[in-house]
Structures are given as C-alpha cells and as structure tokens.
Symmetry: C2
Subunit: 907 residues, 2 copies
C-alpha cells in the first residue's frame, strides 16, 4: 500500500470514492460501508447531513493485517478530514472556545450485529465541558459527558455496562426520582464523577482527557471488533465473507436538546398504514432522538412542525420528496433541528402495511417514479393475503390500548373473549355462541379442538415453529405467540400483563396476527376489499409478467363464480365426490355402495345422475369459455358410511339396553334392530381397510365399479351438451385420480369414450374434451412417458404425492411426529404447506420431462393445496408447468406469486 | 431368379445348402426350414433317416411373388430328387410293382401353428392300393388310403374334418365296435369309398388318382398356407418376419405296422425323471406311432427291445449317443422299425424334471460334453426350488393312478383328504388335525382361510392367473387348477373325474403342483436333498459366474445357521422387533410402550437389554467373519398391543356381564376391571393411526423414543464386544428403517455413536461397524445423494418401496383389487412378487446412482422379499447392486439366479 493511498473520504467526496472503485454502487458500499456510502449519497444530493468522514474498509483490512497498526498516513488523513469538518461546522475538536464533538460508528458493507456500534460525544473532557456549560447548560453537558464515558467504557474498553447502569439507578434513588428525565444537572455531575472512577477501576487507567486519543481508541476499537467472536460467528451463519472489513464513520454531533428552537423527530415520506402520499411522523422540541422513541414525553405529529417552524417543515418536505425520488421508494427518516437548523441523520426505505405497500407501489408507477415490474416486485405475494382476511380497524388500533407484543405467526385479526383452556373455548364457541380467543402458556395436540373453535390463539411461550404457531397457520387462525409480558394464572383464571394489567377469563381482547399485537377490548375489524382499485391494477400488471396460468379448485358454481372474480382462468379441480356429501344425497350414495347386486346399484346411480348433471351444468355456465377439469370419484367408499367404531359402540349399547326390556314385543323389535345393525356392520367391515390412503380409491374404484364412473361421465357429457346448445363455450376435461399404471388409464379411456360417444349421439352434438390424469403417486411420475401416451393432460396432486413420497399419512402426522420434526428442525418446512423441492419436486420434474417426451403439448398443472403457496408456485414455474390451481381465495396471491417467480429469474 | 437356381436339396445335400447360404446354422435353417435342416443334419451324421428332399423357403417366396406359380425348374428338380429317393428306398412313386409313398410337410424357420401341417401316404390310388394289398394286407392299405383322403381333403382342399370323422363314427356303430383298432379291413374299405364321395361333394372334383398331382397340390397348399390368415396373425403376434417363407419336406414313408418285425417307439437318451444315463422310453411292435401315444395297447419299456431285436437296440443306443454328442443335450427321439430296419424320424432336446436337469447338466460337464457355464445356463433358478419342496415319490407316481391333469400353477407335492369348502377344510385341518386338499370349482377371497389351512389346492376352472393360482403361489401352497375333467357336485359332496372315477369328500388324493397332476390315494412324498452332490457342484459353478453377493434375512441364530449352510455370505436383514414378539417378552414390551414416564420405560428397557444382547450374540457367533445387518425397531408400536376392536368388544361384553352381578363385591370388582380396561383402551386409542403403514414407525420411533433404539444399539455393541473377546470376527452393520430425510439419519447417527463409544469404552475394545439405512420410501431414493453423505450402506426395502411407489397397501390389496388387476392383465405381474421394473426399478436406479455419486464405495443391497425372486435378482444385477438378501430357503435359488443374470448379458 503506497503512502499516497487514500484512506479517508469526506462525506462530500463520494465522486472520488466512486472513481477509485471504478464500479457500481455495490463496490462503493464495499469501500465505504453501507452507512458511510449512504451518508455520502445524501450529502451529494444536497441534503443537510452533519459533516463527517469515512475511513475505508481497506484501511481496516490493512490495520488487521499489520497486527493492529493503522496503515501509514491514515491517521494524518483522519486529522486532515476533521479539519474540513471543523471548518464546515465552525467549531473545533478539543477547542476550548467552541468545541466540536463527534460520533464514531462502525459501518460494514452489510448490516451486522456483533460489531462495535456507536460512541457519541467524543471530544468532551473536563475543560471542554466547562466551556460548553458556559455556552449551553450544566445539565445538558454532564448528560453528554456521562454518556460518553459509559459508551466509551463499555464499547471501547469492555467495562461491563451493568456497572454504569447500577450507578444511575442508585443516583435515581438518592434523588428520589423515577426517570432519567427528572435527573438534575447535579445528579449527572455526580454520575459523571462516579463513571470516571469506575472506568479507572476496570481499566487501571484514567478516562482519556485527550479528545484525539478518545477518537483514536474508538477507531481502533471499531476495526478490532470486525474480528470479534460474535461478528465472526454471525458472518459464518449469514454467509458473509470475512475479508470485507468495516469502515469507520466520524461525524459531527448536532443537538436537538440544546435550545427551545431545537428538536428531533422521525418521519415517513408517506403514510405507512394506508399509503397516503403525506408526511407522517412525530417530533419533540428541545429533545434528543431517544426521547421520541422512549415515549416519556408526548410527541407531536409532524404536521405540527408546520406551525412551529414553517421553513424547517417545508425544507424537510422537500428533502423527503428528493430522497423518495432518489431512492425510488418511501423513506423513513431521522432528523434533528439544532437552533433552527435542520439536519438529516439517516434515511432508509420505510416499513409499511400491506395496504400501504400496494397503494404506494401503484401511485409511484403513476407518478413515473418506478416501472410496473418494480411495483410488482415490491409487493410480496403474502401481502396480497391482507386483502382477503379481516383486519383490526387501523383507526381504532391507534386509539386502543395495546397491551403486549409477540410473534406474528398467523395473519389476520381476531376479537373475542379470553378462554384459558380448550374445553372452555370449545364450549363457549360451540354451545354458547360466543366469540373466543384461546389463551394458553403453550399448546399441545390435546388443545386442538379448542383452537379450532376459537377465533384466534394467544400464547405466552413458544416460537414461530411452536405447536400453536403451526396449528394456527394450518387452520388459518390468527395467532400471536411468545408474548413474554403475559403471565397466565390458570387456577385464578386470569392473566397479568407486564405486572400491571389484569385480564379475567371472559374479558374481551383483540389480536392482530399480522403485526403480532394484543389489544384490550373489543376492537372493530374491517374486511379489506379485494376490489381495491390499486390491487386490481397491480394484479393486472402481475398478469402481464407471469407465465404460469392461475386456475382454481372449485366444486360448486358459487366457488367457481368467486374464482372467476378473483381472476382464475379455469377450474383445475372439481371434486365430484364433494357433491355426494350433501345431506340429501348421502342416503342414495349409501344405497349405491351397499347394493347387493348390479341392478340395485344401477337404480341408485340413476337417481344420482340428474343431480350430478345439474352440478356440472352450473359449473360450465359460470366457466363459459374456460377449461373445467372434473375429477371422477376419488375417496374410498367407506368415507360415505358411518364409522366402524361408531357402529360397534352403537351395537354394544343396544345390546346392553335390550337387557332391560321386559315385554316380548320390546325384546323382539330390539332383536330385529340388532340383526339389521349387525348386517350393516358386516358390510361396513368388509369395506374397511388397514391403510385406506393406499387402498381401494381413485381409479381403482372406477375399474371395480365401472357403472359408477360411467354415471359420472354421462352426467358430464349430458351437461356439456345441454350448455353447448344454450351457446355456452364448454371445455370439459375429464380427470382420472390415483393412476399408478398406464393400463388403468387405457381401461378408463375406452369406458369413457363409449359413454361420451353414446351421449353425443343421443344429443346429436359434438363436444370437444380432454382426457387426463392426476399424477399423485410416485409411480405415475416415474412412468410419465408411458402415461402421457394416453393422457392429454397431467395434474400433479401434491398432497397425495407428498404422502407417498415421504411415506407420511398427513392425518396422523400433522397431529403427531411431523410437528415434532418441524419444531426440532429435522424438516425445515411442513412439506404439506410448501412442496419439498429435493424429493417431491424432483419427482414432479421427472414427471414433466417424461410426459413431455411422449407428448410435447401435454398440459401440466398442479391442483394440490400447494397451488396457493408462493414458494411452491415458484417451484412450479421453474419446473415448466402450465398452470397452478388453488382455492378461489388464494387466486390473487397465486397471480402475484407467479409473477414473482418470473422476476426471481432476473433478480 | 436364374434357370439354374437350386430349389430342391436332398436331405443328403446339407453341405451344398450350407455353401449356398455361406453362413451359419441359422441361415441354413432359414433356407431349409427348421424341420428340413434337422432331417438333413441327422442324415449327414449317418443316422438312418427315411430319405427325402426339401423345397427351399426361397422357392416358396418366389411362388407367392409370381402369383402362386412354381418358379421355373422347381417342379422338375422335385421330380429329379424323388428319383434319388426312389433309388435309395428301392421303391417307385406311383409304381404298380413296389410303390413308394411319401409325406409332405411344411417347415418354416420357426415352428409356427396356422400353416398346413402334414399329409401322409401321398402316392396311393386304387391301382397302387391293389398292388400294396398283395404285398401286405387289405386292412393296412385301406387304413393308409382313408387317412390320405381325409388329410388331403381337409388339409389341402379345406373339406371340413368333422364330416370325415362322422363317417368313421357311423361305421363304428354299424360294426358295433368302440375303437378304430377294432375296425376290420372291410370297415376301412367302406370308409375309403365314402371319403371319396365326400371329397367329390365338397370339391366338385374326384379325388386325384394321379400320385404326382397329389404331390403337386400338396406342395402348393403348403406354400399358400404361409399367407393364411391364421399364420399371418400368429407371425404378427410372435414378431416373426413375414418374408421368411416356408420350406416343403417330401419324405419317404416307412411303416412300423407292416409286419411282426416292425414297430415304433419314442425314447429319451437319458432318464427324464432322475437323469440317469440310460435309454428310457416305450415301444410297440407292429404298430404305428400314434398307437404308442394313444395308450390303447400296453407299451413295452425300451429295454425290452434288447431282447426282441438286439441289433436294432444296439444301433439305436449308438445313435442316441451320437445325437447327444452332436446336440450336446439329452435327446427325445421318435423311431420306426420297418421289417427289422431302424429309421429315426425326429430328434429334439428332451424335457426333464428339475432333478434330472441338474444331474444331466453336471454329468455332461464331467463327460466333457458341455462347459460349466453351459451347465449353469441350462438349470433355471426356479428348478433349484425343486430341491427345497417336498415332491411326490417318483416311483410311487409310476405305480399310482393318475386321474387328471391341469395347470401346474404352484410347485411341490400335496397329499390330503379332499374337502369341498373352505370352512370344512379349515375345521378338519385346524381342529381335527387332518391333512386336507381343498377342491373347489374356483376360489374367491372368501375361501382364503380354507386355502391357508389346506396342504394343497385343486380347482376345475381357472387359469394361471386365477384367484386360486395367485393365492397358492403367494402362500407357497402346491396347486393344480383348471382340471377340466373334474366335475364337482357340492350338494352330493363328491367329485367325478372323466365321467368315471368318483371321489367322495374325505377321500385321499395327491397333487403334483410341479407337473400339474392329480393322483388317487395317499402317495408318499420325499424331500429332495439340498445336499444333492450334483446341485452342490452346480451351485459352486454358479458362484464362480455371479457378481451379486447372496445374503439372507435371518432373525434368529437357527435361521442364520441354515442360511450359512445354503451358502449365504452375510445377514442382510435382522428384524430386531421379531425378537420382541416372543411370548415371554411381550409383557415387558407392552410395559415399555405403555410407560407413563421415562423412568418406567427405562425399567422395561433394562429388562429387554440382556435378552436382545443374547439374540445378537448368537447371530454374531454363527456369522463369524461375515457381515450382519441389524435393523433397529421398525413396526408401529400398536402392533405389540391388543387390537382396538378386541378391546372395545371385550369392554362391551364385560359391561353386559356386569349387569348380571348381584353382590356388591362382584359389582365392585367388575367396575374396577372396567376402569382398568377403559384406561388401557384409551392408551391404545391414542396410539391408533388412520394409515399405520405411513405412520409413526421406523426411524420416526427412534427419534420420538430415543431410549428404545439406544437400548438396541447398546445390546448390539455389548454383544459384539463379548463375541470379539471370544475371538469371533464380528462385522455389525446398524441399519435405520424408513428414512425419508437425511436429517433423520444424522440424528440417529450421533445418538448411535454416543452409545457405541460408551460401550466400547466400558468394554475397552474397538469394534468396527457400519452405519446405514433402508431405502424404502421414494424420497429416500430421490435424495440418495444427500443420504449417502451420512449412510455407509443402503438396503432397498422393496416391499415398502413398492407400497409407496404404487400407493398400494399390500395387506388390503392382495385380497382385493390387486388380484383383480392381475387377473384382468392390468398388471402383468404382482409387483410384490417381482419388482416392477419401470416404476420401482427406476427409483432403485435413481437411488443407486445418487448414492454412489456421493460415496463411490457405498454398499448397496436389497432385503425385501424380492431378494429371492429370479426376475428381481436379474434386475438388481443390471442396476449394479452389491448383493441381494432373501429368506434362507431361497439362498440357493438366488445364487443360481445371480449367475443367470450374468449369463443373460451374453445370450
């Protein structure tokens, strides 16, 4: 490294830094660190940033390589730079006339905990303090002084921070005050003196009076902290390279608490709750930054600044606008006003609600600030979910008493009366018609019935993968977990929040699962409108980007109608058996199943035919011009019958009762009933299977009971013909479930063709249709090349495919070992929530490749629940599927996720 | 085709034919057809074959191409050749002094039904007949004559054969006789006359008196039959090319029924039952070939010929030896003696029993006739099975009354009393200790309990894939099905065989499932010795060839001992839970499962530890120097508990009984019992799963109840250390079942290592071991690359892998839809019997490739039941596995199959 090497860049020397790295913003951040680059960037924009300088990351690396020695010329450059800062501020570092104080902060390329953070107020010593007191006030200066010693001591010299805190605590008691704000000048003077003694005790040195020594030690400490154990561990975990080094930022201090025309505040360039294009924030006059956050004094809304200091307000508004234009995003800014002069200390992209995100993204496109693609990229698919769940009313939330915060593990709002156990929750909800929030220290599988009955779930323990969190997400229940301020007393039936607020069982509370917040009382909720104009625009832009089609799973015309409204381009799955489950149809279905001979079965099927035809007619009419995939019957037949256990129990009870009968006629009729039940039981038993999931279902039923699927096919084609005659553009696709071998499909195809031709001849009409299959067993995916010779389309049933690929019964596992696997990190994610890419995903890949090798124009989709999961949608896009099909409610999310999948390819 | 083209080859002109095709035996067969080439081959060897000639397949093609016209010069060549034949026989075709008759037969390259077969006795007309009568007898000649007209009429001129048969039938009635043998000369004369009239009626022509016209029409008919619809359909089905054409063989007739020193017979060059190197066969003096087969006259054993015609006998023995040497295989020959002169009419490789196959193959190696590889190639792996099943005593079979034959669908012998329904079969077998054969018209799933109780199964209907056949093979029960001679009268409880023999229920019969034969009475059985010296030699030769290792699945030392004796090179699967099922251990196991807390569980496990350690010690000692793979506990825990249904029923019964109690103490104790049972029931219910096959089992148990697998690991390593101290070379391999994710394996590995190190430290001994996993879930195979980073070996569990790949629960499906699938040909084979190559096989391939990509020296085997199935073994070889592991009884078959797998690669 040559002697002429530039180690130090003033905030005003960004152009030089850029020229040196000859690169982009990324390499500039590499040289100056994130914070330094940002401060320089604002400076170049003409934003009033307190002047300062950045010692480069290269200097840090040189320092560490040289055995912790500053590289040649570096310190001299710091001193030179400091001169420039002094000039700009009109104050001098260590000067006894008008002293300049500075801060010293680390700033690596990536934000990184574990490194030395911040030392403020460098430059005070006893003499400087005396002079400053003359210019300001004793309390102000000793407050600064004691802070310097505490920060310097703990951060630079490793003095335990608790010792300093104990001194303050003691002094508060001596003075009989509760908060630091009440401390007097004398108090801080005493504390400062004691801090110096502590410093000496722990470091065996006096606190350095020389301001330059303070600065030098601070700079060294920042450099050294790059190699601290905590920083190294963090870099290892986060995959950050160890050779980046950290920069050091030395910046002039400004004071918002120095006078009545001083102040400090934080503000967003737009409203973070609703996205309105207006400044939003709070400020305090004559105060320090941390006072705003601490909430000891009542802050004023930013609009008040207009009255107080109209020029400053206008200047700030202009700066906000400028920063927005520059960063092309809503900004979250910190500012300080020192004696009427505005300084901006920091700016960053502002956090916002989903509602605001959408509004801001759309308006910024309209303002020409960003492109449509950028707008789509900014709104996460999950944020679209916001528009589909009830939310706590934003206005009411501001007014209401927020009593605690926890982990936001399952989104949406829930309002209800607290119940402290699952049985109470269930009883209140089911039998007393109450709205209930179930609160527990943590939940177990035994609690699931209560969780299902409740509006929302609240726990004091547990994390993002706790049982409560997993179950809540699973069933779409809003939940806040791990609220440590909460103490539940299950004996006294009450909970205490932060040792102060007492909530009795039955009291109303409100949860915001999206933010993880708990409110006292019964807050109003709103259902955000899916017809939000901004959202509609944004989704239409997403549609322009995405390549995957988005279809919906719908069994009834009303579901299909909703799916269309939400933008579905087809029905990817109509589960015909759901129609069987309707109350008035069940007896016919049961008669069909229990039929002792074909004729009896035929009679039952004949009764079902017009009902199913009606169902399909409705679907075709709603989906006019769009494909409708109808899956033939799938579940094992015993699902339509009473359970075996129930029947055994019922029979046993009946036998016990019979013993109490005395009259002959009573006994006779009881015995007759027993015989009937016994008979029924035997039939049910014959249908029982040890592993029904792997049993007689899907296409296997179609092969064993051809008349059943033939009835369904007839219903489909009769409905198609009737609708077609009415001018409806029908596009039926008949889907066979649970195929494992191409021969199953061949048999079903010829059976179907026969019926289809028959119906079309009867109706004297030609209806175009497709014939295809679910791919939901590993063998189907593995032999997709053979299967695609018969099937014109594939639909991956990833629920079943996940079950067989993992060998996991979902029903059993999600209340059993699977949750333990996820909690223990054996599985990173629930494979039933997000497609397992290495196993199931690989099988889908094999299936798609195989299928297309035989039939290049094969239509391939997915209709499992994964079809509405953004991560899974992204995988489907990468694997080259044609569409995803999901629940109607998730169609908007899927449209967004499909666009993101495209954008992920060009980050 | 030039005029000098050679269309006809005498049987003695094989060299010329070979020179013409300039090729190998295959192209010679292509020119002369299979039959022609064989007759010529025997002729060249000097075997006395009646002289004749072959018209080539090329001539046939030319004939068909030219619009059914003989190619130029062909007929002239036939006539020339015929002259040579006349010269050799000293008779002349159509001559009135010493007439020659000939046969005319088709002969394509491959044996092929659907073509014209045979016309014998060509050359007779009224004048020739008169002359022949003078030389022989009237009956003899008219018998020949009527045969000619019938064969010529039906085969060449398409006159319906039934019409001729009706005439014979009528004549038998007229003469009051039952068989053709009783017909007189006059009878045949009348028949001949009527045949001529029929011929005229159907063809509108007289039967051709001109011998040359007879021959010409016969030759044309053979050529034309190549393009008959039936022949074309057969070729399409068998994949035989349509342009091969057929040859025509014209051969001098010889007569075994012409005099007292004439005769005919069939004989094998070695004993087909036991393989002894001696002629074996039967003959009849003064008889025609078909008389031997028809069984009307009592045949004499071939050894008798030695006495009758010693020179002929010796000549035949030499010929047999010569043909064996030439064809390097045991020969099955047909011969005729005409007036003391021996003629050989046909030879082919002889069919033989498994026992004979082995003996002959081994002896031919010792005689230097074939190589060891050829010997191994000849003995099918399934034939080795013979040595492992009881068989009917061969001597007794000869003496016994064979009453019927059917399909040999499941090998082995069964002897028992007939029962005509499943309940009777079960009652007799289980409760009365009888040996039972269950006989039914056909079987249904309801009959399975009877089939299981029976020694063997017999049905009158059904084919190789009938329910009876499938179930019998499944459970290793000998079975003969589709015995059409059998008529069952289930009401009268008897069966009638061939309208004559009556068998009452309870009568003894014997079945040979290997041959498909049914015998009257209780035949003795023999268990062929696996220590058969020939077999041992043959297996050792197979061992030299095979590349796959053959290991065995064994849970107990006695099984391991047998496996070693049968040649197993390791234990591929020890199912540790089988040890739990032993009666005295079950209570401890149940206590372990039901434990309410860890301490209670620990106590039960401490009791199990020494028992398991003892099991492993025994295994290690038997397998000294060989690997032993021990699989940690696999089945779901509820398998060790009483069934839920049983408990519900028991509790209900108890409640009913309680109602009859009167004293307080009775009621009290009953109530206490109810409480205990209720409690137990609840615990069992908590363990119930909807799909246990996909539930909490395998490694999932190991993760949820670590102390259980830790006990097992401790038992393994304590046993290993103890044996090792005794000088035993222990090679333990610990196997984790049901892995779906590498993280499961990582957890188990660290748990195992901890215990293993602990034990080895305690014992102050180092024991080398391997750590690996079953690959029995699709996901494990798909992510084999990740899994092999932890596992040192894979063992494919193809039973489970088939279940999840197909989505089939074996327990349910094999008594349900799967059998129907196989019967209907939807699946060609039961995938639980033979690995499905396209689905499961592909997954194994992915698993092997993936595993070896991470760990090139990965040890890969298979331990499902497929490990003993020859087809599956062949697949395992092709997929590059290191070994197969099967039941000890199948080890010899597997050794043979593994050798065949190598040989299949170089057919």
């Amino acid at each position: 490294m040559s002697a002429t090497q530039k180690h130090v860049y003033l905030f005003s020397e960004l152009d030089q830094a850029e020229a040196y790295v000859q690169g982009n913003w990324d390499s500039t951040r590499g040289l100056l660190g994130g914070k330094g680059a940002n401060l320089a960037d604002m400076t170049r924009l003409g934003v009033p940033v307190p002047p300062g300088l950045t010692v480069t990351t290269e200097s840090c690396n040189a320092f560490l390589e040289a055995g912790e020695e500053f590289p040649q010329g570096m310190w001299e450059q710091v001193l030179e730079g400091l001169k420039v800062v002094e000039g700009k501020m009109g104050r001098k570092f260590g000067d006894l006339h008008d002293p300049l104080l500075v801060s010293c902060r680390s700033g690596a390329k990536f934000s990184m905990p574990g490194m030395m953070d911040t030392v403020l107020n460098i430059g005070i010593n006893d003499a400087v303090a005396e002079q400053m007191i003359r210019q300001t006030s004793e309390r102000f200066v000793y407050d600064l002084y004691r802070r310097l010693i505490q920060m310097f001591g703990s951060v630079v010299m490793d003095v335990p921070d608790e010792v300093f805190e104990a001194v303050i605590e003691a002094q508060r008691k001596v003075s009989g005050v509760k908060t630091d704000a009440e401390m007097t000048a004398e108090d801080w003077k005493v504390v400062t003196k004691q801090f110096k003694q502590i410093y000496n005790t722990y470091t065996h040195e006096d606190f350095p009076e020389d301001p330059y020594l303070q600065l030098k030690l601070g700079t060294e400490a920042v450099f050294k902290s790059w190699n601290s154990r905590r920083a190294q561990a963090y870099r290892n975990a986060a995959g950050i390279s160890h050779d980046l080094g950290t920069a050091v930022n030395i910046q002039a201090m400004v004071y918002g608490n120095i006078s009545e025309d001083s102040g400090t505040g934080v503000a967003m360039s737009r409203n973070a709750s609703n996205g309105k294009n207006e400044l939003e924030g709070d400020f305090l006059m004559n105060a320090q930054g941390e006072d705003v956050v601490a909430g000891i004094r009542m802050t004023e809304p930013i609009s008040e600044l207009k009255t107080r200091l109209p020029e400053v307000y206008n200047q700030f508004r202009e700066i906000a606008r400028k920063l927005e234009m520059h960063y092309r995003n809503m900004q979250d800014m910190e500012f300080t006003i020192e004696r009427g002069t505005l300084w901006v200390l920091q700016t960053r992209d502002g956090k916002r609600t989903a509602q605001a995100e959408v509004k801001i993204a759309v308006e910024m496109v309209e303002e020409g600030m960003i492109t449509r693609t950028e707008a789509v990229r900014r709104v996460k698919p999950e944020q679209v979910d916001f528009f589909l769940h009830p939310q706590l009313d934003a206005g009411a939330m501001k007014e209401a008493k927020k009593i605690a915060s926890g982990l936001n593990v399952s989104p949406g709002a829930a309002v209800g009366m607290v119940a402290f156990d699952a049985d109470t929750a269930e009883r209140w909800a089911k039998h007393e018609g109450k709205q209930v929030i179930m609160a527990r220290p943590e939940t177990k599988p035994d609690d699931v019935h209560g969780m299902l009955a409740a509006e929302g779930i609240l726990t004091s323990k547990g994390g993002r993968t706790s049982h409560a969190a997993l179950v809540a997400r699973q069933f779409g229940k809003p939940a806040v977990v791990g609220v440590s301020e909460l103490e539940l007393d299950l004996i006294a039936r009450k909970m205490v929040v932060s040792d102060s607020i007492i909530i009795e069982e039955g009291d109303w509370i409100s949860l915001d699962g999206t933010l993880g917040e708990v409110y006292l009382g019964q807050l109003p909720t709103v259902v955000p409108d899916i017809k939000n104009p901004g959202l509609i625009k944004l989704l239409s832009w997403a549609d322009e980007i995405r390549k995957l089609g988005v279809w919906a799973n719908a069994d009834y015309p009303r579901d299909a109608q909703r799916a269309r409204e939400y933008g579905a381009e087809g029905i990817g799955l109509c589960r015909t058996e759901h129609m069987f489950f309707e109350a008035e149809r069940m007896p016919i279905v049961q008669r069909m199943i229990m039929a002792r001979h074909t004729l009896e079965r035929k009679e039952a099927l004949d009764q079902l035919l017009p009902l199913q035809r009606g169902d399909f007619e409705g679907l075709f009419r709603v989906m006019d011009g769009h494909p409708v995939i109808i899956r033939l019957i799938d579940p094992p037949l015993h699902e339509f019958l009473p359970s075996f256990e129930e029947l055994v129990q019922g029979l046993a009870d009946l036998k016990v009762r019979t013993q109490h009968f005395h009259t002959l006629s009573e006994i006779d009729s009881a015995l007759a009933e027993i015989r009937v039940k016994q008979d029924y039981l035997e039939q049910v038993e014959a249908l029982r299977e040890q592993n029904p999931m792997l049993g007689t279902r899907g296409v296997r039923l179609g092969i064993l009971i051809p008349e059943l699927t033939q009835m369904q096919v007839r219903a489909i084609f009769e409905a198609a013909c009737i609708c077609s005659k009415d001018g409806v553009d029908v596009q039926p696709e008949v889907m066979i479930p649970l195929t494992s071998h191409v021969n199953e499909l061949k048999i079903q195809q010829s059976s179907l063709e026969e019926v289809a031709c028959e119906v079309m001849k009867e109706q004297d009409l030609e209806v175009k249709y497709k014939f295809g299959t679910m791919i939901e067993l590993p063998r189907a995916a593995l032999t997709a090349d053979e299967i695609a010779e018969v099937a014109q389309f594939f639909s991956f049933g990833t629920n079943d495919l996940t079950q067989t690929t993992f060998g996991i019964s979902r029903d059993d596992a999600e209340s059993g070992f699977l949750m333990e696997y996820i909690q223990r990190g054996i599985l990173k994610e629930n494979p039933f929530a997000s497609i397992d890419p290495n196993g199931v995903g690989k099988l889908i890949d094999i299936g798609v490749q195989g299928g297309r090798s035989s039939r290049p124009d094969l239509e391939v989709g997915i209709c499992g629940e994964h079809g509405g999961d953004p991560k899974s949608i992204s995988l489907c896009h990468r694997l080259g599927l044609n569409y995803v099909s999901c629940s109607p409610y998730r169609v908007p999310i899927a449209r967004m996720a499909a666009a993101h999948a495209v954008l992920e390819e060009n980050p």
